[in-house]
């Protein structure tokens, strides 16, 4: 910060209670080891992340569809400079993969050395409970192998 004279403001602290009623099955699914997407009953569009309403045909009748989680990396990055709320984490790798059901997913890629990660690499999206109790999901290599 600058050495110009400043007045420190009052600290603002905010956290949100994000409503998940309409996609609760997704979060429950993670705890049961499942990755769900939603599929529009009217037009058939598949969504991941899941949605409760279809932006394509405006139907709100969606079916929950379990995804295989199997896919291929489309792109990735290693995030070194991290936001305040991720300062306690080690640098992490974020990847986007094309899942075999036709949708893409974005998540951390774990259990693989940085130098071994390539576009096109086969991965599997799996549920995970983080050290601090957050229910989330991550990619892992589909199989251990050498490049």
């Amino acid at each position: 910060m600058s050495e110009m004279p400043t007045l420190p403001s009052r600290r603002l602290e905010i956290s949100y209670n994000i409503p998940i009623s309409r996609t609760k099955k997704f979060w429950d699914g993670l705890r049961e080891g499942k990755i769900y997407g939603t599929k529009c009953r009217r037009c058939g569009k598949l969504y991941f992340p899941p949605v409760a309403d279809c932006g394509e045909c405006y139907s709100s009748e969606m079916d929950w569809v379990e995804l295989s989680g199997e896919g291929e990396i489309v792109t990735f990055t290693h995030i070194i400079v991290r936001p305040t709320s991720f300062q306690d984490q080690q640098p992490y790798t974020v990847a986007i993969a094309q899942l075999k059901e036709g949708v893409k997913a974005l998540a951390w890629l774990k259990d693989v050395k940085r130098k071994d990660i390539k576009v096109g690499m086969k991965v599997k999206l799996v549920p995970r409970v983080s050290e601090d109790g957050r229910v989330t999901y991550e990619f892992r290599p589909a199989e251990k192998r050498e490049y």
């Binding site: 949100y16 994000i18 409503p19 309409r22 409760a52 932006g55």
Partner: protein, 388 residues
């Protein structure tokens, strides 16, 4: 400048809506508005979103909502004019269509305020004045800002706390008839006077609740109105807007809002109407005092006579100018970015004479309606005049 009409409206249930996130909440209104207009999201080239945010998790609400509603690819903008944000979003879409740039436009007003606790909401609203000179050391709150006006107004004109309470009683009476209102319950003057003090002289029932909600309107040019064969287009006859100082102590007095006076005079002039031509009005009653000042700022009565209008019932159905007969911000609720758009939805229905129950339908003589939407404590004001 092309004529522009409202050709479709949508409105969510207002209230504590922790059953939906901000995208899902917006979808509820957008769906109805598009259906009414007979359009699909792919027919919409321009979308303006009115939302303040900060009390919900998405910092780019326009993008998140456009994605959710299948509107990605449209020309997209988010606007802010404090509590007049909804009207500013309408205005932005209005000039976009009036200029000839687009034939249709969708306006979405939405706010999700109940994802933070009450004191955080009070903090976030309180900061939205002149932070350094009013909040940092003096902790002004939104009720506090209006309380400064209430004290000055009552002292100057001899209005009483009972007069303020009458505004709340009227608006709750109409809110009780509106199934979309946050609070659908009648109250008495005694209820207001005995409710706890929030910022003296304003008590709990002098204040609007903290509300989640969304509203949407579809605008179309005159040619498009014909093409769509819209039965009862509601025309935007004129919009006036103005602003006031951020710092309250720079204001000349505390008995009315200069921005509202100026905005309304511009709107009247453009629309070619006078206050007596208005069949029904929505005014910005975030606090009871605000509605009394609005009567005066809009020229519904002379300065210092607003509290007489409420005493005499002149702003009820059957009176001189029915005001806030949907419950107003006071009972319907005030999801900030949605409020101005919600006013357009209500007035469109009033002008179409389709309000149910009929005790909540204003009688139409001139088919002219007015929306008065104040941002902050007169930091902004937008006045929109509609005509069938």
């Amino acid at each position: 400048m092309r004529k522009v009409a409202i050709v479709g409206v949508g409105h969510s249930k207002f209230g504590e809506r922790q059953d939906v996130n901000v995208r899902e909440l917006a979808f509820e209104s957008v769906k109805t508005a598009l259906e009414e207009a007979g359009l699909t999201p792919r027919d919409i080239p321009y979308v303006s979103v009115g939302s303040i945010g900060v009390w919900y998790e998405e910092p780019l609400p326009a993008v998140a909502i456009a994605e959710y509603c299948g509107l990605t690819g449209s020309s997209l903008i988010r606007v802010e004019a404090a509590c007049a944000t909804g009207s500013a979003a309408v205005y932005s879409a209005y000039t976009a269509v009036a200029s000839g740039y687009f034939d249709t436009a969708l306006v979405i007003g939405v706010e999700k305020m109940r994802e933070v606790d009450t004191f955080t909401a009070v903090e976030l609203m309180g900061r939205a004045g002149s932070y350094l000179w009013e909040f940092e050391n003096f902790g002004l709150t939104f009720p506090g800002y209006y309380a400064l006006y209430a004290t000055a107004y009552m002292n100057r004109f001899g209005a009483s706390e009972e007069d303020l309470a009458l505004v709340a009683v009227k608006n709750h009476r109409y809110g009780a008839m509106n199934p979309l209102a946050h609070i659908q319950r009648e109250i008495t003057v005694e209820d207001v006077l005995s409710s706890y003090v929030v910022a003296w002289p304003l008590k709990l029932y002098d204040c609007c609740p903290i509300t989640d909600g969304s509203a949407a309107v579809v605008l179309a040019s005159e040619e498009k109105v014909k093409e769509l064969k819209v039965d009862t287009p509601v025309w935007i006859a004129g919009i006036g807007s103005s602003s006031g100082t951020g710092t309250l102590s720079y204001r000349s007095d505390f008995i009315g809002l200069d921005a509202a006076v100026k905005a309304s005079r511009i709107a009247y002039k453009i629309a070619g109407v006078e206050p007596r031509d208005i069949d029904v009005a929505e005014v910005h009653d975030c606090f009871t005092i605000a509605e009394l000042m609005a009567y005066e700022d809009l020229g519904f009565c002379g300065r210092g006579e607003g509290f007489k209008m409420i005493r005499e019932g002149q702003t009820e159905v059957g009176g001189k100018i029915p005001v806030n007969i949907d419950g107003g911000l006071k009972a319907k609720g005030h999801p900030i970015g949605a409020t101005g758009v919600s006013m357009m939805v209500e007035l469109t229905k009033q002008l179409r004479e389709e309000v149910k129950p009929s005790s909540r339908q204003a009688p139409m003589k001139n088919y002219v309606a007015l929306a008065h939407n104040v941002g902050g404590t007169g930091h902004y004001c937008y006045v929109t005049i509609l005509r069938r």
